[in-house]
């Protein structure tokens, strides 16, 4: 078959096989450069590598390019063009290759044999028939639920239309979710989308609880900016204060770490606001906006001199004053405050985050260089609808709990593991047990999939079409495109989007018409890629931004080549006034009670769970590279551990590797102790994401699942899980194990002269 270059480009643009060679910044219509032997597809030349651009779903918001040699993906790098990460990437995106070639992938549909009680292989045709029969047989259309991760872009559009067609509901699952963060951003900045934080141009940065260099929101983007913030050319070195109840990787990088008491972050922020207003650092217009015109008296409760402030924060008056002065000092502008993570995961979570983000209003950094940059709506109209946007907001604990009373008949899960990631009190195992039929789309068998009646194996994202509208974006419109960089490695996997379209067509639910796709027939039915192309067509018609072309095909190839489309000119020009903080009837702002559930008395601690730097919430725990990546602070690998202060541990007779029993009213777990000097003596920390019973050979049986002992505390306003609101009792079981840590793998290479880490106070 003699394919010309021109034909190849066209063909690749419309087939699931094709992808266009990534060529840097050339004009889209430019032809491929490679000379190919006769009878070989043009992008498959022996010994020559091709690079394809796509977006990363392991590390949301990153654009990647993938090196493909003879049909096999070999290496992932950051996409230098993609605005979010600009060529840089993380350990997590690197490991997508292990997901693709993982030995434990699901490779064929499985159906639970009622007699044996086991999952047995069936064909796709039967699987589709079973599923559409179940959907058609719903006694009430409202009894259908679909649970996915937070969805964005066209998959959110498709899923929301699919759900509407059934009168069911969608719930987004996220472990250690950020429900309160979204609510706080909405309240303070009036925005539905998370803003960009311009760290690269800030001079002074105060972060509360957000581990933004490691796991929070868009860590690669922030880390790239942080390098500039630190030692960028032609700028003064920025200073970073981390207010955090745990010594995170981000706290380790900060110039100063303030170990605030858990839950007291908001009180500390408003105490800083009090000092800033009292000492005349804040123009009264900003102070009025925040306090509803009542100014300093409204903040009386937050004077750092108050004993109650010191009790709530654990920080003394003079230090709060210094923090406030540094933040507001004109010489330190632009100053930037960000908050999230554990700061928003208390019963006072929303209050905390609102108070923290309000600091930005006081220094007036909104939409200015080095400050909080608001993000515009997506460039494609269909993607900015409320229904579509809400697909990206995770469900709160209260919503999960109410699900069990709703008599769900057919439950569909896709790529998420709520059985492992939700606390028991959410009642999700009961929902699964009571549902008459559970179907799971997944690439791997995990604890949730193992309970399903029907298992449908999905492509990994390196084999599938998709898109992304990053949230948070970079301050302007970005539409990232995900294309298959290799053919599906297994014959039996399918695309989730394609399957929804097929299902939609078979159950008298004309998704094709609703989505405005060409109807097609049995042989050529619409695919998810067609929906992406339709969105791209809208973009092409707008004729602006990073890719413009004479023809739509040229445009399509251009965005595939670059990994997406963006328009730096398209940003938010106006903003609404911030909501004032809630003021009581006495004209004063008060803080909500900071409550904890669990043990009190000797040997009890605040439990601070945290996302793993490499495995996040455990979604990536099945990948051996990421299990073997040392935790930045403890150097621990392949296990769970309990971080406990060295001195406290010594007083309790605890040594490294001692198995500690952590008990809360919700349960008990055991994990080995790791002692270090930077754990606040009143807390212990355990990473989430381990303790899988079913997640492939590399994750099963490794460590413990800390979510099993998280108490069902909720934020007072949003009813989201207050995952940092648990207190535990710590008991030494007396068993000691040799912990798999990297530390000590090489003998200390300290010398008399010439220390390893040399330090200067020069900027």
């Amino acid at each position: 078959m003699g394919i010309t270059r021109r034909q190849f480009l066209r063909w690749s643009g419309v087939s699931t096989l094709g992808a266009v060679m990534f060529n840097g910044c050339r004009i889209p219509e430019e032809e491929l450069q490679i000379e190919s032997p006769v009878d070989m597809p043009e992008d498959l030349v022996s010994g020559i590598d091709n690079w394809y651009a796509t977006v990363c779903q392991h590390d949301m918001s990153s654009g990647i390019i993938v090196r493909v040699v003879e049909g096999r993906a070999k290496k992932i790098e950051g996409n230098p063009d993609y605005p979010m990460n600009q060529g840089r990437h993380s350990a997590r995106s690197e490991a997508a290759l292990q997901s693709l070639y993982h030995p434990d992938r699901l490779v064929e549909p499985l159906y639970r044999d009622q007699r044996l009680g086991q999952l047995v292989p069936i064909s796709w045709a039967s699987a589709r028939q079973i599923l559409s029969d179940k959907l058609a047989g719903l006694s009430d259309k409202g009894k259908f639920r679909i649970v996915t991760g937070p969805l964005r872009g066209h998959l959110a559009l498709l899923t929301s239309e699919f759900v509407k067609g059934y009168g069911g509901a969608h719930m987004a699952f996220e472990s250690l979710e950020q429900v309160t963060l979204k609510a706080a951003i909405k309240s303070v900045f009036g925005q539905n989308r998370l803003p960009e934080f311009d760290i690269a141009n800030a001079k002074h940065l105060v972060a509360f609880g957000a581990d933004f260099l490691s796991t929070w929101q868009a860590p690669v983007r922030y880390a790239r900016a942080y390098g500039e913030f630190r030692q960028g050319e032609s700028r003064r070195r920025g200073t970073h204060v981390q207010v955090d109840s745990r010594f995170s990787m981000t706290a380790a990088s900060a110039d100063e770490w303030v170990p605030v008491k858990p839950g007291g972050e908001g009180v500390l922020a408003l105490s800083m606001a009090y000092v800033m207003i009292r000492d005349g650092y804040v123009p009264s217009v900003h102070a009025q906006a925040l306090t509803d015109g009542k100014l300093l008296p409204a903040l009386d409760n937050f004077s750092p001199e108050n004993e109650s402030v010191r009790n709530a924060t654990g920080v003394d008056a003079s230090r709060i004053e210094t923090l406030a002065h540094e933040f507001a000092n004109p010489g330190n502008q632009p100053a930037l405050a960000i908050g999230g993570g554990s700061a928003g995961a208390h019963t006072s979570g929303l209050f905390n985050l609102k108070a923290i983000y309000a600091l930005n209003v006081l220094v007036n950094n909104i939409n200015s260089k080095g400050g909080v940059i608001l993000n515009p709506d997506p460039p494609i109209k269909e993607l900015s609808g409320q229904d579509v946007v809400s697909m990206g907001t995770p469900a709160s604990l209260e919503e999960w709990q109410s699900l069990s009373g709703q008599n769900v008949e057919v439950l569909m899960t896709r790529g998420v593991n709520p059985i492992h990631g939700l606390p028991k009190a959410a009642g999700f195992s009961e929902v699964m047990a009571n549902a008459s039929f559970v179907v799971s789309f997944a690439s791997f068998l995990d604890e949730t999939v193992a309970l399903a009646d029907l298992v449908l194996p999905e492509h990994t994202y390196l084999e599938d079409w998709g898109d992304d509208v990053p949230d948070p974006g970079p301050g302007y419109q970005v539409f990232g495109i995900q294309q298959p960089v290799v053919r599906p490695f297994h014959e039996g996997t399918r695309s989730f989007g394609d399957e929804l379209l097929i299902l939609g067509a078979s159950v008298a639910n004309d998704l094709t018409g609703i989505l405005g796709l060409e109807p097609g027939d049995e042989q050529i039915r619409p695919e998810f890629r067609d929906l992406l192309r339709k969105g791209a067509y809208d973009l092409w018609m707008q004729n602006r931004g990073s890719v413009k072309a004479e023809t739509f095909d040229g445009f399509w190839n251009g965005i595939l080549e670059r990994g997406g489309w963006w328009d730096m000119e398209e940003n938010v020009k106006s903003q609404s006034a911030p909501d004032p903080l809630p003021i009581g009837s006495d004209g004063k702002i008060t803080w909500p009670t900071i409550e904890f559930q669990g043990q009190q008395g000797v040997d009890t601690f605040n439990l601070l769970p945290f996302l793993s730097n490499s495995m996040m919430d455990g979604t990536l725990a099945h990948l051996p590279w990421l299990q073997a990546t040392p935790d930045p602070i403890t150097s621990m690998t392949w296990h769970s551990w309990v971080e406990i202060n060295s001195k406290t541990a010594k007083d309790m007779g605890i040594k490294e590797g001692d198995m500690l029993e952590l008990s809360s009213p919700s349960g008990i777990v055991e994990a080995p102790a790791y002692l270090h000097p930077a754990v606040p003596p009143w807390t212990v920390s355990v990473p989430v994401g381990q303790g899988h019973t079913d997640y492939g050979q590399y994750a099963s049986g490794v460590g413990v699942n800390i979510m099993n002992i998280i108490a069902p505390m909720v934020d007072a306003d949003t009813r989201a899980l207050a995952w940092a609101g648990t207190r535990v009792k710590v008991r030494n079981t007396g068993v000691n194990i040799d912990i798999p840590k990297f530390e000590g793998s090489v003998p200390s290479i300290e010398a008399e002269e010439g220390q390893i880490i040399q330090i200067t106070n020069l900027h």
């Binding site: 790098e77 350990a91 380790a252 990088s253 690998t637 202060n645 606040p680 200390s748 200067t760």
Partner: protein, 256 residues
């Protein structure tokens, strides 16, 4: 390409530890590029995990005045390398581009080199590396999988440098520059990944390269440059830039 026609290069690296956040992106990038065996749980217990580049973490002080410091450590590609002189079979030698090179098919596994390396960056294959069959699809065809009995270490991603010479200098008749290395993904894997720009790689002989400029600036009076274990006289081709601590009392040296 004939060897005599090769352009002269001297490869080196600058590591700015004031930028390092300890994120481990370099570590995993290196493992993906260089076919490093999977470090299983047992390898960590046995203290035999393979990490051609590693991030060390040092503590200073006690709570609440406590600091953690990160430093990436890789082969220093010493000009005066203690590993080279002890190899009985010339499996490790210094090439004409400033790199300390390991020739796998010469290595007979005496382990003298690892024993003599003060930076502890050499790794010995006590076992044959194993991957599940499907994971082998990811292996980089440009890099040898080392067998049992062989010593291995950071090569500055020599396969990428060779590709740069072949494609940029050989085919395109151009010169290797920072820009060319970046745009063709030919920086060493760790450098290409590093999100904060801690790692800077390039040709020390190229006056326009960032690594050359940083070296000149940082080793001048008042600069932040230093070399690891400098008193040993190994003359590394990797230069470190000191951590900045605004609270430090003048020029201090942290205890490691």
């Amino acid at each position: 390409m004939v060897v005599e026609q090769r352009n002269r290069h001297k490869w080196g690296m600058v590591v700015d530890i004031d930028r390092c956040i300890g994120c481990q992106a370099c570590v995993v990038a290196c493992q993906a590029e260089n076919n490093i065996p999977i470090n299983d749980e047992e390898s960590f217990r046995a203290r035999r995990a393979f990490q051609w580049i590693r991030v060390e973490r040092y503590w200073e002080g006690e709570f609440p005045n406590v600091k953690a410091r990160f430093i990436p450590v890789l082969c220093q590609h010493c000009e005066n390398a203690p590993c080279e002189v002890v190899c009985p079979v010339y499996a490790t030698y210094h090439n004409d581009q400033g790199m300390n090179v390991q020739v796998y098919n010469r290595c007979v596994g005496t382990r003298y080199c690892a024993n003599n390396c003060p930076y502890q960056v050499r790794f010995f294959n006590y076992w044959e590396p194993v991957w599940p069959e499907s994971l082998r699809n990811q292996l980089n065809p440009d890099v040898t999988v080392r067998s049992r009995g062989i010593m291995e270490k950071c090569s500055f991603c020599v396969q990428r440098i060779r590709r740069a010479e072949r494609t940029i200098e050989g085919q395109d008749n151009s010169t290797i520059s920072d820009g060319e290395l970046w745009s063709r993904n030919l920086m060493p894997a760790c450098v290409q990944a590093c999100p904060t720009g801690t790692l800077v790689f390039g040709d020390l002989l190229d006056e326009t390269s960032r690594v050359h400029q940083l070296k000149e600036l940082s080793l001048a009076d008042g600069g932040r440059g230093y070399k690891l274990l400098e008193p040993l006289g190994t003359e590394p081709n990797v230069i470190y830039l000191k951590k900045v601590d605004i609270h430090a009392d003048g020029e201090v040296k942290a205890h490691a």
